[in-house]
């Protein structure tokens, strides 16, 4: 039972003495009442009534206390002690309090109103009366009046803490009235006022709940995460825990993984929370029981505050005890957040813990696989999936694990194997979702192999499925368009993209289709339409990831339409935050300015862009462009020196070959790089030194000094530490080593293609790998490398050599048509040197020979030696092969004629060829056909 204190009451004198406990006060009240003049006796005397009221109050019998106090008020209100105000000043607050506790809110309000209107003097009593009145109003459903009274209480409150309690009450009324923003604002005021930690914690938690219930998860997250929680002093751990879990779920659903993770870090493991909550409640109850005996009546509002907290905590504990252990589920969510936040190490650690716990096994394994994959450890990812299958062979989730294995195969660029794996799943997986996903991946793998026709067919097959998820259907439709686009079937691709952009697919797919549509219009030269669409795209999706690309595209479109000022304006909008596109836009800008005769402006634009870009891989092109605009050697030298200083020794730098070629051209020294090379080595600028050697080698090669070029490239290997070699040097060194039959070359090139899949020097490496395989009599292995080399977007000096080798490989694989096609292209190409054309004719002949059509072969050979007699090697080869073929088809006179012509044309014929020609002549000398002719 409480021991309230309030000012002592006496009939003769009111002494505003120090507060005394209620028992003492009531005793005093009772002792002092017998002296009261009793003018009117109804049933009991006033002292008796007071004694009864006090006794009832003391034992918590509030209905009796209330009734008795009201009785006194009704029957003794004309007593002098009443009229003088001394008695009602003491009794009315007690009466109001007792009525309130007895839930007689009307009576309570009457008592408090009377007290506040007529008798309130002491600020503490007034404050208490206002608080209780507000509560009574609130309980009796008079929310507006309660609000005003709490506000009045707050205005009159002696301490900030009391104001805080009022604000808590006010916020609840505001929230119940449907105004959660107001309620949250009220609570935020408490937080800003830096009140007692317990009130601040209550306010913060309540504001979070209100924000969450009203769907304002951002505010809830801000409140939850803005500052640390003083967990050692706060009892509301379960409340905080539940709020954090709920909010984490909401933030996860909204894709805000950082906030979700921060929320999850505010939670406790279930067993720990249970024990902590019990301990906190015990502590709070002990503290409450220790303090309650010393609380005055005026401080009873604190009693109310504590009781409310304890009631809530008990309810939370009950709910907690009834709920399931969520620990592992939260761990899973944490792992997911880490994975999404590009933090695979943490995701992997957590998923391994989950795997050990054997809860959520399939999800845990999947997360472990994905985090391992994210770390670039695909073989390990496959091993994990396999370990799940071995552990749970009966589980349906093994299909998911097989899917993960296939994804790893895809990521390891083992596309053919991946296709086989996905095909197995597409046919047999236990859910249509997985089957369809597998089918989609088959299409992707086919596209990755650049087999666009089968890829298109796969995506079409997927898109034709009924009841397909709109997301997947949209993706499949979009990929149909992409496959057509990559096959350069732009009209069909355009139709496909238009179809997608006009459908009701998820917005990201529609936006991508709209962008792709513009990229189709450009090669179809529908510039005006493309300009309209690109402008519209920029306006509608100003923050989309495709914006910089669209800006460059629109600039190019304006350039194509010769609307150069517009092109310039749009190129200038491309942000340097996208280095590659910024570099492209700057080159477009420079070209447009030059076309308008503004060369100096173009130079300035390039200089500024070079100053802005620090990405060595994209700044190279700008230097090359800038060099092209330079008027004098001095200016060129300055530009080259700038590049050498800032980027020359950077392995990532692009454009090195072109820039160093320019350097060679403007210097008149016999070998300008010898001194520079020594200096670079002395300064340990090994990357730059390697580039100087490569530049020298390529120069020698273009001057038809291949052996010296080879020596220069091999010097790279001798002089430069391997880890300083830039990609271009690795590619050429690998090729050179492969050509001299070194296994080291093949290893180097394989490493290069793995580490630099999109390098402009990839074709050099592909060619080297194809060459090595061809020389090892492995046409099947050589074929894909040579195809990749010859189909590459990037130009390289050995491109023609690669085509010749490809045609030879194709012949070995009996692929005559394709080989013929390739050689015919070389013959048609005016840029192809005559010697190559002669060789191409010989190869065409050999194809015909292999295909069993020697007559056609002879025709190609005759063209070869007739058109290109200057290239002795190919001509002699053509003569001899032609003669042999004549012999084979039985035309010995023609064979003899051919040999004779060969011997006549090349008197200094090498011994082997001469012997072969003479042999043919000898063999055909006795032929009847020859005899006939001679006769």
């Amino acid at each position: 039972m409480y021991t309230f204190r309030f000012k002592t009451f006496s009939r003769d004198k009111f002494v505003a003495s120090a507060p005394r406990p209620l028992a003492l006060t009531l005793t005093f009240l009772l002792c002092s009442t017998p002296a009261l003049p009793q003018q009117k006796i109804v049933f009991d005397s006033l002292p008796q009534l007071l004694e009864r009221a006090a006794a009832a109050f003391q034992v918590g019998d509030y209905p009796t206390a209330s009734e008795t106090f009201i009785h006194i008020q009704k029957n003794y209100s004309s007593e002098p002690d009443w009229t003088s105000g001394q008695l009602p000043r003491k009794i009315l607050p007690l009466s109001g309090f007792a009525s309130f506790r007895a839930q007689k809110f009307e009576d309570s309000l009457l008592a408090f109103d009377l007290f506040l209107d007529q008798y309130a003097e002491d600020p503490d009593q007034t404050s208490l009366a206002l608080y209780l009145k507000a509560q009574a109003l609130d309980k009796s459903g008079q929310a507006a009046k309660a609000l005003a009274t709490y506000q009045e209480f707050s205005d009159n409150a002696a301490s900030d803490s009391l104001k805080g309690i009022a604000a808590l009450k006010i916020s609840r009324i505001q929230y119940d009235a449907g105004s959660s923003p107001k309620a949250i604002a009220t609570l935020q005021n408490i937080l800003h006022a830096k009140l007692a930690p317990r009130i601040a914690t209550q306010a913060r938690l309540r504001a979070i709940r209100f924000a969450m219930k009203s769907g304002d998860t951002q505010t809830a997250a801000d409140l939850l995460l803005s500052q640390n929680w003083k967990v050692d002093t706060m009892p509301e751990l379960a409340m905080l825990n539940f709020s954090a879990i709920e909010l984490a779920d909401q933030r996860l659903a909204a894709g805000d993984h950082q906030s979700a993770l921060s929320c999850l870090q505010l939670t406790l493991p279930y067993p720990r929370l249970l024990s902590e909550q019990k301990s906190k409640i015990t502590q709070l109850k002990v503290r409450y029981h220790q303090r309650r005996s010393s609380l005055t009546l005026q401080q009873s509002l604190w009693d109310d505050f504590y009781k409310q907290i304890i009631t809530n905590l008990d309810a939370q504990l009950k709910a907690l005890e009834d709920s399931e252990d969520y620990t592992e589920t939260l761990r899973l969510r944490r792992a997911l957040c880490y994975l999404q936040l590009d933090r695979p190490i943490e995701a992997s650690l957590l998923s391994q813990q989950l795997v050990k716990s054997d809860v959520h096994s399939a999800s845990a394994y999947k997360l472990w696989i994905r985090s391992t994959r994210h770390l670039g450890q695909e073989p390990q990812a496959i091993a994990i999936a396999k370990s799940y299958i071995a552990k749970f062979p009966e589980s349906e989730d093994i299909y998911e694990m097989l899917f993960e294995i296939a994804v790893s195969q895809f990521n390891l660029e083992r596309y053919a194997t991946a296709i086989d794996s996905f095909r197995l799943l597409a046919n047999s997986a236990h859910t249509p979702t997985l089957r369809n996903a597998a089918l989609f991946q088959i299409g992707l793998a086919q596209a990755a192999l650049e087999n666009y026709a089968p890829a298109l067919s796969t995506f079409s097959k997927l898109a034709a499925q009924t009841d397909l998820d709109p997301q997947l259907l949209g993706q499949a439709k979009l990929w149909e368009g992409l496959c057509l686009f990559y096959q350069r079937k732009f009209p069909e691709a355009l139709t496909a993209f238009e179809g997608v952009s006009q459908s009701k697919f998820p917005l990201p797919i529609i936006i991508e289709a709209q962008f792709r549509r513009i990229t189709c219009l450009y090669p179809l030269q529908k510039y005006e339409s493309a300009i309209v669409d690109a402008s519209d795209f920029l306006q509608r999706y100003p923050r989309h990831a495709r914006i910089p690309e669209t800006q460059v595209l629109l600039g190019d479109l304006y350039s194509a339409q010769n609307q150069l000022p517009k092109a310039i304006a749009i190129y200038q909008q491309v942000s340097p935050d996208f280095p590659e596109l910024f570099s492209q836009a700057t080159i477009g800008l420079s070209s447009s300015l030059v076309a308008l005769g503004k060369v100096e402006e173009a130079k300035n634009a390039l200089d500024q862009a070079i100053a802005q870009l620090s990405e060595p891989s994209f700044v190279g092109e700008l230097f090359i462009e800038r060099l092209a605009l330079a008027n004098e050697d001095a200016e060129r030298n300055t530009i080259i020196e700038h590049w050498i200083h800032d980027f020359g020794n950077d392995k990532e730098s692009a454009g090195a070959i072109e820039i160093l070629h320019a350097q060679r051209e403007i210097r008149n020294e016999p070998d300008p790089r010898t001194r520079e090379y020594e200096n670079a080595l002395d300064a340990k600028k090994f990357t730059y030194a390697a580039r100087l050697l490569l530049s020298k080698a390529l120069n020698l090669q273009s001057n038809h000094r291949p052996h010296q070029a080879e020596v220069a490239i091999l010097q790279i290997q001798e002089d430069i530490p391997a880890d300083h070699l830039p990609p271009e040097c690795i590619a050429y060194l690998g090729l050179t080593l492969a050509k001299i039959d070194s296994a080291q070359g093949k290893n180097l090139l394989e490493k290069f293609v793995t580490e630099n899949p999109h390098s402009p020097f990839s074709p050099v490496a592909y060619f080297g790998l194809g060459y090595a395989a061809f020389e090892q009599n492995s046409p099947s292995e050589a074929l894909p490398w040579l195809r990749l080399a010859t189909q590459s977007y990037f130009e390289f000096p050995q491109a023609i050599e690669a085509k010749i080798l490809l045609s030879k490989t194709l012949r070995q694989k009996n692929e005559y048509t394709e080989s013929d096609q390739l050689l015919s292209e070389l013959l048609r190409d005016r840029s192809v040197p005559a010697k190559i054309k002669a060789e191409s004719l010989n190869l065409l002949a050999k194809n015909q020979q292999s295909a069993g059509t020697p007559e056609k072969a002879i025709a190609y050979l005759q063209r070869s030696y007739a058109l290109y007699p200057a290239f002795q090697d190919t001509a002699i080869e053509a003569y001899l092969l032609s003669a042999r073929l004549f012999q084979i088809i039985g035309d010995d006179p023609a064979a003899r004629r051919t040999c004779q012509e060969l011997l006549d044309r090349y008197p200094a014929l090498d011994e082997t060829s001469r012997e072969e020609a003479i042999q043919i002549l000898d063999a055909t000398a006795t032929s009847p056909a020859v005899a006939n002719i001679e006769t």
Partner: protein
């Protein structure tokens, strides 16, 4: 209860003096489950029995009690426990040592509250860097039947002592044993920190990073000892080996949690010679997959 003559005649005076000095007005008290109490001098345990010496009719006897029969121990060391409040940490050490010596023989039988002062003694030794003493005390303690929380605290103190004394091998053994026990890292990250530091010193940054992140992934709302050290080590390991965005991410997280960078760890700059390790899976169509997703 067993009773036997404890002392020979000549030794009686010694016990009397000891009792007189130790408890001029009070003595240790044992309360039995039966409600009976016995006062005297708690002198230790033997063969699983608690020994209490007392004078009876000028004769010294030793009473032996089965611990199962004892409901409470009341040590005559209140003057010592009361003195602690006014003492500095350094001054507390000898006081706590006396309490420890008095209570240690009964450590398996006394209440958690009475036992907590023994742990406080070990903690005071750690605070005053008497690490060798901790190691010598912790070894026999770990062989006793004690509550898991208490043993856990002892293990951590022993680990810290070994680490502070520079005995890396011993610290590593303690740390590994603790990790192998499967106990969570939420409150104390020292075992992982020890192993991570050893790996970091060997130059195994990947292993150091993984070990130091281990306790950090399980952080909850409670404070975790040595969490800031783990963050610092993880940042250094990821900086030295250029692990993508990890150093910046971890530093931001550390600051958000208001964890101070430990003075004992020097902040390393990023290693420009090391290739940046990016964690995005390979894909031939990065743009398309990013924008329109992958099933």
């Amino acid at each position: 209860m067993k009773i036997r003559r404890l002392l020979k005649k000549g030794q009686c005076a010694v016990l009397l003096i000891a009792l007189a000095i130790t408890c001029p007005s009070r003595a240790d008290t044992l309360t039995l489950r039966s409600g009976r109490t016995h006062q005297g001098l708690l002198i230790g345990t033997e063969a699983g029995y608690v020994r209490l010496a007392k004078l009876e009719e000028n004769s010294e006897i030793e009473l032996r009690f089965n611990p199962d029969d004892i409901s409470a121990f009341d040590f005559d060391d209140k003057d010592l426990t009361n003195a602690l409040a006014a003492q500095s940490r350094l001054e507390q050490v000898p006081t706590l040592e006396r309490i420890f010596e008095k209570r240690y023989p009964f450590i398996e039988y006394i209440s958690d509250q009475q036992r907590s002062l023994l742990l406080d003694y070990l903690q005071a030794l750690a605070d005053t860097q008497a690490f060798q003493r901790i190691l010598s005390l912790s070894k026999p303690l770990k062989t006793k039947t004690l509550p898991a929380d208490f043993l856990e605290s002892i293990e951590l103190l022993a680990l810290e002592a070994a680490w502070q004394l520079g005995d890396r091998a011993l610290a590593a053994r303690h740390a590994q044993a603790r990790i192998d026990s499967g106990k969570p890292a939420a409150r104390n990250a020292l075992p992982w920190l020890v192993l991570a530091t050893i790996e970091f010193e060997k130059g195994n940054d990947a292993r150091a990073l993984s070990l130091s992140l281990h306790p950090l992934v399980s952080l909850d709302i409670r404070e975790c000892a040595f969490a800031n050290y783990c963050y610092a080590l993880a940042i250094n390991a990821s900086s030295r080996s250029n692990y993508g965005n990890y150093p910046a991410l971890l530093l931001a997280e550390m600051e958000k949690k208001e964890l101070a960078w430990p003075d004992a760890i020097e902040r390393l700059p990023a290693n420009p010679l090391s290739d940046s390790k990016r964690f995005s899976a390979k894909n031939p169509f990065p743009d398309n997959i990013q924008l329109i997703g992958n099933p």
